[in-house]
């Protein structure tokens, strides 16, 4: 099932776009699996996703750990730790 992915801050800059619609294979079941699958594309994806400790995620706009399942998710966001305020 297609998923909308959003990228923010330096993740967005490395990948070169703010988001895209993807259709991962059935064996991609978590946010971390999605990141692995995208990183395998190489290029900016490999750069953005090199260090998993520096990545945070949201599924359908709720902050979640990277091992969260993506079954049924419509929107997944991948981004650096937040620095607001």
């Amino acid at each position: 099932m297609p998923i909308d992915i959003l990228y923010f801050a330096w993740v967005r800059e490395a990948i070169g776009q703010g988001g895209e619609r993807v259709d991962p294979p059935a064996d991609v079941t978590t946010v971390a699996g999605l990141i692995d699958w995208l990183a395998a594309r190489g290029g900016g994806y490999a750069v953005a996703f090199e260090n998993r400790d520096r990545l945070r995620a949201a599924v359908d706009q709720a902050f979640v750990p990277l091992d969260t399942p993506i079954a049924g998710a419509r929107e997944v966001a991948i981004f650096p730790p937040v620095t607001g305020g």
């Binding site: 923010f8 330096w10 967005r12 650096p80 730790p81 937040v82 620095t83 607001g84 305020g85």
Partner: protein, 148 residues
């Protein structure tokens, strides 16, 4: 009453303050964060996650209102490019008693530093870099207990 705004426009402090006072609450605490220029920063740009940002800030305000019995919780956060002296964030809390307003105001600014999807990029002349998350912000947020 909760008021959350994420905006590109400058923060109108006087309007926000007058609105916060209108609740007959007795005590109004505010915090304003400004762009500092003292370490060579010439521009600060804030990126955010539209929709998720507002939801996260509203959830923080709801927690604060319930925990401290507030009359009002306000968070106005600016996004986009800013220069030193510009207001980045304004937090206001009102309550019958000053302790509740002061504590809730500190809670909101501590928590929104770590719990809302904003990212800062600083420019110093020709050089721009994304601001790294600070462990002191995590520590400040953690003193309020586990996140809801």
């Amino acid at each position: 009453m909760i008021r959350v705004v994420v905006q590109d426009a400058p923060i109108d402090l006087a309007a926000e303050f007058v609105a916060a006072e209108a609740e007959d609450a007795g005590a109004v605490a505010t915090f304003t964060g400004l762009v500092r220029g003292d370490d060579g920063v010439t521009e600060l740009a804030l990126e955010h996650y539209p929709g998720a940002t507002e939801r996260a800030l509203e959830a923080l305000c709801e927690q604060a209102v319930a925990r401290w019995d507030l009359a009002r919780a306000v968070v106005v956060h600016r996004v986009g490019p800013m220069v030193p002296g510009d207001r980045v964030v304004f937090v206001a809390t009102t309550a019958r008693h000053r302790g509740a307003a002061l504590e809730a105001c500190a809670f909101l600014i501590d928590r929104l530093k770590t719990g809302a999807p904003f990212w800062k990029r600083e420019r110093r002349g020709g050089d721009a870099r994304w601001v790294e998350a600070r462990s002191s912000d995590d520590a400040a947020a953690a003193r309020w207990g586990p996140e809801a």
